[in-house]
Amino acid sequence: MVTENGMTPRPSLRIERATPAAVAAEGLARRFGRRWVLRGIDLTVEAGQIVALTGRNGSGKTTLLRLVASVLRPTRGTVSVFGFDTRREGAEVRPLVGLLGHSAGLYDDLTAGENLVFAQRMAGRRADGALISAVLDRVGLAPFEFERVRGFSAGMRRRLGLARLLLRPPRLLLLDEPYASFDEDGIDVVNAFATEIRAQGGAVLLSTHDLSRAALVLDRRLHIVDGQIVESSELRGPTLAGGRA
C-alpha cells in the first residue's frame, strides 16, 4: 500500500498471482526521444480503490495511464494489471482494462450507434442494439444514435467514449482527465460508473487537475512531479470537497 518511490515492499511473483493488485508498477520509466517523462514509478492500486493522479501538465500522468493500459511499452521497469505483465501478457491485460483518454477514439464518419456496434464487434461480440440504446440513454445521447460523430461537440464525444466503456465494464478503469468537457450530468455519470466498478471489485485510476469533481468518490491521491510520485495521501471523499490538485 505504500506508494512513494523506493518504499513499496516487493512481493514475490507467487504472492502477486495469489492476491494480485489491480495495478502494480515497479521502477516504471518511459522516455520519449531524449526526455524522460516517467523516472521510476513504484505504484500499487488495490482492487476496490479509486485513485487519482494529480500533477501539472507534462508531469507524466497520461503516460502512466497509457503504460498501465498496455498501449505504450515501458522503457524501463514493469507494470502489471491484476497480476498480468502488460509487456509479456498484453493479450490477458486488454480484456481487463478500459481507457477513456483525451481523445475519445471515435470515427467521425460513423454514427454514434455505429461506433458502438464497431466497439462490440471488436470485443468479439455480436452487436446488441438494445444494449447500445441503453448505454446511449444513460450518457444522454439517445437522441443522437443515428447522427454522425463528425458533428458532435467535445462533450458529446466524451460521453460517447464513456458509453463505449459502459458496453463492457472493465475491471480496471483508466480515466484521463475524465471531468474535462463534461457538464454536471456528465460528471455524475462518470462518478457513478467509477463507484460501480469499485463496488464490483474493480479499480479506477484517473488523472485530474480538479480534485473537487472527484472528491466524493476518491480513496487515494498520488501527486506526480517530473515523472515521479512525490506524495501519496489516503482520502475519504467528502473531506476533500473543494480541494484542488
Binding site: 511499452r73 478500459g98 470485443a123
Partner: protein, 226 residues
Amino acid sequence: MNAELTRIGAIVWKDLTAERRTKANFNAVVFLAGLILLLFGFAIGTEQASMQPIAGGVIWLTVLFSGTLSFNRSYEQELENGALEMLLLYPGDRRSLFVGKLLANLLFVLLVEVVMLPTAALLYNLPIWTFLAPLSVVLLLGTIGFVTLGTFYAAMASRLRAREVMLPLLLFPMLVPLLVGAVQATGGILNGDIMGSTWWWVRFLFVFDVIFFVAALFAFEYVIED
C-alpha cells in the same frame, strides 16, 4: 476463432463504410491513377508498337503510386481522434487488426484497378479483354503482395512523424521483386505468352505473397505498438 473473424469483419466494415460515405480517398486515388496513365502516354507515346512492350510496367507503376495514397489514408483515420490507441486496447489477437486492414485495403485497391485497367486499355489500345482471365490472376496475386506490404509499412509509418514521406521510402524498395514479377507476368500475357515464362512469374508472385503475408502477420504487433 469466431471472435477473431468478427473483429476482422468489423474493421473491413468500418473502413469501407467510412470510405463509402466520404468517397474522398477513392476519388483522389482514381483521379491520380488516370493522371499517371495520361502522363505516361505523353512521355512514351500511345502508339501500340511503342506501348505494348512496356504496358505491364506502366500499369503496375500506376497501381503502386496511386495505391500508396490509400495506405496512408487507411491509418490516418485511426490517428485522427486517437482511434488507433483504442484499436490496440480491444481484446483478442492484434493480428486480426492487420488482416482486417489488409482486406479493406485489398478491396479498395482492386476497385481502383477495376476502373484503372479499362482506362489503360482504352488509352493504350491494350488487348485486356482477350486475356482477361490470366490477367486477373496476375493482378490479384500482384495486388495481394502489394497490399500486404503496403498495409504493414503503413502501420510502421503511422508511428513516424513524416509518415507520408516515409511510407514510400520504406515500401518501394521492398516491392522491387514483386514489381519485377508482376511486370514480367503482365507483359507476357499482353504479348500472348501465357504458358511460357509467364507461368514461372505467376508462381513467383504466389510464393512472394505467402512469405510476406506470414512475415507481416507475425511482425505486425511489434510495429503497431508505440
